[in-house]
Amino acid sequence: MKRKAGIDRRQALRAAAAFGALGSMAGRPWALGGPRLLAADPDAEREGDGAVLVLVQLSGGNDGLSTVVPYADDAYHAARSTTRIDQDEVLPLDDYVGLHPALGGLRGLYDEGRIAIVQGCGYPRPNRSHFKSMEIWHSADLRGRAAGQGWVGRLCTAAFGDRTEASRLVHIGGTVPFSLYSPVHGASSFVVPEGYRWIGKEDEVAGYDADERRKPSGKSRLDFLRGVLSDARESSKAIRTAAASYRPKVDYPDDSFGLDLRAAAALVRGDVGARVLSVELRGFDTHSSQRSPHNTLMRRLDHGLSAFLRDLGSGEETRDVVVLAFSEFGRRVQENGSRGTDHGAAGPMFVAGTRVRGGLHGAHPSLVELEGGDLVHTTDFRAVYGAAIEACFGVRTADVLGAGTKPLDLFS
């Protein structure tokens, strides 16, 4: 299926587009860092090894204190009146924290040792803007987009050099997150797998793509679009085949998060070459009357993610699966006056997989010693990324996130 010549040409186009970007988009923040192009690593991982990393983004700033609840802390009771989850409701993990009552499915998996919860994840000098903070999580760099590319993009360069693969990075949803952005490794994306195709134009577009005479156009955007066309052509067929033939072992919830995870499972089981999958659960930007919508979101998270983890992880897959769930920040400790909470800092991350060291990791942040009303993070989220990078890709954390990050010991 792969035509060597086509792949090489696509790389050339992407490279041209990236270099063009440097010239024509000098002011573009993410161009400033410059792409790390074509730095093929001879020791880079072989395609045959490693796990699939599934990123679950909880968009809008999930209230961590209502997710992993410090139910035994008096300060929690004092700060939270309308969003508080009391001891008789919580699903206790130890004598200090417990899970939100809607997270029963995940609690079961936790008890089986398949989920690690890393408490108090954040980064220094937290930013309370959704966009800026999400950029920081996406780039794993305090400069945000100015870092030049997403952390998964850098990971791909470290793991695969310039060897691109159209379906390696797949976002299931409308807009590809910046974490998957790389000037070399393009991400595929779709809302539903069955619509992921050209109608009646597949062969002709293939002819355009295969035209060996075409040279870089000198227009950065045109070269970019030509690279996308190549990626779309390759991944369309692989992904639709995998999704259409998929028969999951469990029922998935019929909401979009559940169906996105079902599609993700199909790509894992169908072995389309995906190594990083990304899904999103939206709606966490709750500022007022938070309790009810947050309950709904917890239920969706629980039902979708536990179905996914039950469906996979039986050892029948070609590759292991590691799930990493995160949000751009937590909420202030003190409720606001609208029965909700405002943007804060630090929150829990969930890491799941068959080889994960289950249980609680990291220290819960103090609810008393705050910074500007916010929790102080106890674990840098990049240490969690580092653990996933090494477990899934066999790449050294330092090669992706810099020497300053020491990976957390989350996998056996």
Partner: protein, 585 residues
């Protein structure tokens, strides 16, 4: 790209030419230039960026007027948009219907809420379709283009606001000030009920300030990250305490307002929202920030700091008058530089409207509204307060393919059903491996209302409304039909009876373009915003040649058999519009 070489063939009246300019050699496409360098290529560039695509007659007129006069014409044209009637559906329904069911259980109440939400969303969809009709008309393109810009700049979503009356009112505000002074617009925005709701300022009280609006005012609307402190945000929030709304109108709730002194960006006083707007506009960062956003929108690339700085100073010196800014920009040779022309990815709504106008068709505006959603731009539902990212973010592998598919619908060669309704040719392949019947959960038609083959255009509003409810995080009741995501909106159009009134055969015959190469060149000129490279043109000519030969027709003879020619030409146009070149302007 329309060259003047074609003009005499396409227009009843030949374009005026500068007598000093020699007639171009017939085999060359070098455009005729006026004394100031103004020509069809540059005029088309301006029309693409300042409006929604360029039709041959519009290019001709722009060239004839000359650059400065045409820019003035764009800026000063004021074709009345028409009064759109809209009512406060949400308020009216909630009072009456809720009181009727006050005795009933929670489920009945939920049903009533859904119905209310549905008719509210219907009104907004109607309005969105009407707005797209305004864009299609091309009567006042720049004002509508700027209204679209402000919608992205002051992004506000019905998802949160849940009140079409307020959303429509906000759009009319953007339209009224689209080309006016930024200060007037900003004063309107901090009083705008939809914005106050969207960014929680109705919850911003002296006793418990809510920073949301204050922060976004600084970060996204006027200054940009890094030009204010956390302290400034907190103090700015105090200036806006009590600025709230009710019944679709702005109101200040005095007892919630903090009358005390605030210190914002170095200024101290008992400020309110209007003072805050003035303080923000005084900041040196404001001009460059707004200029940068306008330049990126119109030029398609982020400006370098010098260019943003220059235009920022210009804005500040000209009272933030958008008309003055655009007059300066559209007369700036740098706006027409090579690096800019044909190097901007058209946003979905702009792309769909422009393509329709270039084809000379009038598709149902509901279809374009739903198509914009499918391509990632759902009007009145921007993804976040940051608006749409734009540029390369518009293009994913899937949206790229979907642009081609939707172009097929516009050309009448693809059914909407094909886009939303099946797995395509791979289904059979997959079925051979499958040991079970197709999973009901993956059947897109399972949603009920969308499966009715008799669904009419009238029901499209329902389709859009249904989706909103299902997408709503506040409504835990999921429904199977939600899974189509952004394609959902198209589903209501499955049985759309519309077919384009288009005749490419006649169009080419009248232009006397009969040979493969000439036909490709002419269609590309009319349908695309930029000239094709030789390789791409050769590729298209080869495709056309193959289709023609498969029908046993000699080169130059195709147009003599319209019943054969038209499907082939539409197929060719479909391919053309599926290529990277068609996504740019």
């Amino acid at each position: 790209m329309l060259s003047l070489l074609l003009t005499p063939l396409l227009f009843p009246v030949a374009a005026p030419q500068d007598p000093a300019t020699p007639e171009p050699a017939p085999e060359r496409t070098e455009p005729v230039q006026r004394a100031d360098g103004w020509n069809a290529e540059l005029a088309e560039h301006l029309l693409n960026r300042a409006g929604f695509g360029a039709r041959p007659d519009e290019v001709e007129r722009a060239v004839a007027l000359g650059r400065a006069a045409f820019v003035d014409d764009l800026l000063e044209r004021r074709v009345p948009r028409g009064e759109y009637f809209f009512e406060n559906v949400a308020a009216r329904r909630s009072e009456r219907k809720m009181s009727e069911v006050i005795e009933f259980d929670a489920k009945a109440k939920r049903e009533v809420r859904k119905r209310k939400r549905r008719s509210d969303d219907e009104q907004l969809s109607d309005y969105g379709a009407w707005w797209i009709e305004r864009m299609l008309s091309g009567e006042d393109p720049l004002r509508e283009k700027m209204t679209l810009f402000w919608h992205g700049h002051f992004a506000t979503s019905q998802q949160t606001v849940k009140n079409s009356f307020e959303m429509i009112q906000q759009n009319e505000l953007f339209y009224a000030h689209a080309l006016g002074r930024f200060e007037d617009l900003l004063q309107g925005v901090v009083r705008d009920p939809a914005m106050l709701e969207y960014l929680d300022n109705d919850e911003n009280k002296k006793s418990s300030p809510n920073e949301n609006l204050a922060r976004e005012l600084m970060e996204l609307f006027t200054l940009g990250e890094g030009n204010y402190s956390e302290r400034d945000v907190q103090e700015a929030a105090r200036t806006l305490t009590g600025w709230s709304d009710g019944g679709g109108k702005f109101r200040v709730i005095k007892k919630r307002h903090d009358d005390g002194d605030k210190t914002v960006l170095g200024r101290t006083g008992p400020f309110d929202g209007d003072d805050l707007v003035r303080i923000l506009l005084e900041q040196p960062a404001c001009g460059a920030f707004l200029a940068g956003k306008l330049l990126a929108w119109f030029e398609g690339v982020e400006p370098d700091p010098d260019r943003a700085g220059f235009y920022g100073d210009f804005l500040a010196a000209n009272d933030y008058d958008v008309t003055a800014f655009l007059r300066r920009l559209f007369n700036d040779p740098a706006f027409y530089r090579d690096e800019i022309r044909g190097n901007r990815i058209a946003g979905p709504v702009e792309h769909l409207v422009s393509t329709s106008r270039r084809l000379g068709i009038e598709p149902p505006s509901r279809f374009l509204l739903a198509s914009g959603t499918a391509l990632g731009q759902r009007l009145f539902f921007p993804p976040s307060v940051k608006g749409w990212d734009g540029g390369e973010a518009w293009i994913s592998t899937s949206s790229f393919m979907q642009r081609g598919n939707l172009a097929g619908v516009l050309l009448g060669v693809v059914d909407v059903d094909d886009i939303v309704n099946d797995y395509g040719p791979l289904e059979d392949e997959a079925q051979m491996d499958a040991d079970a019947a197709p999973d009901a959960a993956m059947e897109p038609a399972g949603g009920g209302w969308g499966a009715d083959p008799a669904a009419s255009m009238d029901e499209m509003g329902d389709a859009v409304a249904m989706e909103d409810m299902q997408a709503d995080a506040m409504e835990p009741q999921g429904s199977p039909s939600r899974k189509l995501g952004d394609l959902q909106a198209l589903k209501g159009l499955r049985s759309m009876k519309w077919r384009p009134r288009i005749n490419l055969t006649t169009r080419l015959a009248e232009a006397k373009k009969r040979k493969d190469g000439a036909m490709v060149r002419c269609l590309a000129d009319e349908l695309l915003a930029l000239p094709l490279s030789k390789e791409t043109r050769d590729f298209l000519v080869a495709e056309l040649r193959e289709k023609r030969r498969s029908q046993g027709i000699k080169n130059g003879q195709l147009l003599k058999k319209p019943e054969v020619a038209e499907p082939i030409l539409r197929d060719l146009a479909h391919l053309m519009l599926s290529l990277p070149e068609a996504q740019l302007n």
